[in-house]
Symmetry: C2
Subunit: 221 residues, 2 copies
DNA sequence: CTTGTTATTTGCAATTTGCTATTTGAATGG
DNA sequence: CCATTCAAATAGCAAATTGCAAATAACAAG
């Protein structure tokens, strides 16, 4: 059957999101090869069936090899496909998204990575604008009922930091005392020794997530 | 580069969900060809790059050609991939899910389709058990904040029917008067002329969705 | 020690939700 | 033709949740 002979191109693309100045930013990478060599785009690459056990594994490999990153969370977003999105031919790209603390990205020496605020991450090659938009939307929804925004922060964080991460992800401000109550009732975090001082004011207590992965709740934050 | 030469198999699979006796059921189809010829499995097929504009279009085509169905909603679930899931080789399947009123399915003459309650839709070929489980979980979550369960019903339905559809999708019973209040506040439905009588009791008013597609809300049902 | 600043807690008021009782509309059967 | 029955639809109130704002705590700087 002809359909079995014409096999489309299969790639993965990863939307890297991070927090900077209380705003979500996208981390992009300058492309090394054609098409669109030199332009900023999502971190991505071909799926290698002979070495990747799954597209998830492919995304992990691409992040490691091209960006030197290993993530605490890497979730599948959705698959984008069609004959027009890539000049090399009919393709399907399984898109993933991940959140990383600003420090993780800044600490590396991978100079090809650039962090852009959402408003500036436009006009990207392929259909990467659409992929970024879908990732943002997914994160926004997921932020309302999961611990996802905590992964924008380092493993230890203060409650005000956590609230600002939620606010950035949700795109709206939250009532501080109600937020504390919710987080407390959800048993999401646990105290760790130490605190963080800011300028000259009362230091904030440090916390960490009680569970390592993303936790979903039934209620909304 | 070798990776560009070895291209994996690309397929689509659709999880058809419907309502019967106030329970979610999965609609499966007996496979015509190997592998697993004759066994019940998800409706699916190869992506045909030369005729499908996207994997979504491929899913629509497969539903039409193999099951004679055209759906009001067809949403992408996620992509399942790996070297072990299909004996034909390394493959990626973009899974979709759809909800259909029981009547739509029952009315067709497509005898290869079988409706099974969730508990009996186990031991399916490939990784279809996992795909079904993911679809059920996605629908359950999505039911809490969207009009999705309404698509388990015909275009016109009563409020008690709508509540039972939500209950089936959510897997828990809802308070009737609170449900009516919410649905009313969300402006989800509008009255249509006519009503449905049940045994000998007060007839229930008929409604239809105010908007044609799935609507998401911020609050929870 | 006083002031400034942010973290954290506390105490209601307002809103939302859950539950139960009441009312309504149509069919049934004397 | 009216009383009865059943499920739909509404109404009323108690309990739980949320939003707001004031009060308190901790630390640094002067």
């Amino acid at each position: 059957m002809a359909a079995e002979l014409i096999r489309p191109i299969l790639t993965v693309d990863v939307v890297l999101l991070t927090l900077h100045d209380d705003r979500i930013h996208v981390v992009l990478q300058a492309r090394e090869k054609a098409p669109h060599a030199g332009r900023l785009a999502l971190v991505g690459g071909y799926v290698h069936p002979e070495e990747d056990d799954s597209t998830h594994a492919a995304a992990v490999r691409v992040l490691r090899d091209k960006a030197g990153l290993s993530m605490r969370v890497l979730e599948q977003l959705m698959t984008f496909s069609g004959g027009q999105r890539d000049p090399r031919g009919w393709s399907a790209s399984i898109a993933y998204y991940t959140l990383l603390p600003h420090e993780d990205f800044a600490a590396r020496g991978v100079t090809s990575l650039k962090m852009l605020p959402l408003a500036e991450a436009k006009g990207l090659p392929f259909d990467h604008d659409a992929i970024v938009a879908a990732a943002i939307e997914r994160c926004r929804r997921r932020a309302a009922y999961s611990s996802l925004p905590a992964f924008l922060l380092p493993p230890e964080f203060t409650l005000p930091e956590l609230r600002r991460a939620y606010e950035a992800a949700l795109g709206r401000s939250l009532n501080d005392s109600a937020f504390r109550r919710k987080i407390d009732e959800l048993r999401l975090i646990e105290q760790v020794a130490g605190s963080v001082s800011k300028a000259s004011a009362r230091p904030a207590q440090l916390f960490r997530l009680a569970k390592s992965g993303v936790v979903e709740f039934d209620r909304t934050v």
